[in-house]
């Protein structure tokens, strides 16, 4: 696995009116990792806490949405900026069968960690090859 250096990239804005909250939305950077047991997803959403987060899985579509508040910017006047702030939104189609009851979500230091355990029938099965 190559090491990915920390770089500054412009946030990608979400186009199209799909969000439930107002304001420009941005895609959070995401890592998706699959083991035999579960699908894992980590999303960088700085300044989002658990209360502002919503995770939804319906009809094979996973939607993660994180809200940022403006209260922290009251009385502040911008002098020089390098990045914009906004709510986070990202959608993925999930082809695996997920056991929705056992989905676990947690937020630490602005990173959402999502564990999507696979349903029993979706777990990988080794197929025996008979040599005739």
């Amino acid at each position: 696995m190559t090491d990915q250096e920390l770089t500054v990239r412009n946030k990608q804005e979400v186009t199209g009116g799909e969000a439930t909250r107002p304001g420009h939305h941005y895609h959070p950077d995401v890592d998706i990792y699959e083991t035999s047991e579960s699908l894992w997803l980590w999303a960088d959403m700085p300044s989002v806490d658990g209360k502002q987060l919503s995770v939804n899985l319906a009809d094979g579509m996973l939607t993660i949405e994180g809200g940022v508040g403006v209260d922290d910017y009251k009385d502040l006047e911008p002098v020089y900026t390098e990045y914009n702030v906004g709510n986070y939104l990202r959608r993925f189609t999930i082809s695996s069968d997920i056991d929705v009851e056992r989905i676990r979500a947690s937020v630490t230091n602005g990173v959402l960690e999502l564990e999507l355990p696979k349903a029993e029938r979706a777990k990988p099965r080794r197929i025996e090859i008979n040599v005739g």
Partner: protein, 148 residues
């Protein structure tokens, strides 16, 4: 122009859009701020604000805990360093890898009229905020007018 002063009532719907517009207007254009050798492109990206007390710097550092941050000041230069680690879960493979990892270190030249020794930093939910008050002499002072 301060964001919130012009809104007759505080409306959260307009407030976010107003903030985004203000941030966009100042993008890569230091207003009255002598950055010197500093500039964009170094991780983490910094937004610089002023309030009544002095300067407020904001940086997005998701996945970085307060213990992993080191903030140093030396005369007019502020340096923010840290590291961001990524954990994986057991044996598996990536479908997507977009998040960076590793160490970072960024320096920023600050205005001369700041009392850098009294800077305060707090990191919450991956957002680092550094407040640096102005020197006493630089603060606005009322001069009373005596009736002659």
């Amino acid at each position: 122009m301060t964001l919130m002063r012009f809104l007759p009532e505080y409306d959260p719907v307009d407030a976010l859009l107003a903030l985004q517009r203000e941030l966009s207007n100042r993008f890569d254009r230091p207003f009255g701020l002598d950055l010197g050798p500093s500039g964009r492109g170094v991780y983490p990206a910094i937004n610089v604000f002023t309030d009544r007390e002095g300067y407020v710097l904001r940086m997005e550092v998701p996945g970085v805990a307060s213990e992993d941050l080191e903030i140093e000041t030396q005369s007019r230069t502020l340096r923010v360093s840290g590291k961001r680690e990524i954990k994986t879960q057991g044996e598996g493979s990536f479908h997507r890898r977009e998040r960076g990892r590793g160490e970072f270190s960024r320096s920023l030249q600050l205005p001369a009229d700041l009392d850098v020794a009294r800077a305060e930093a707090a990191c919450k939910h991956g957002m680092l905020t550094i407040r640096i008050p102005k020197n006493e002499e630089a603060k606005p002072r009322q001069i009373s007018v005596k009736a002659a």
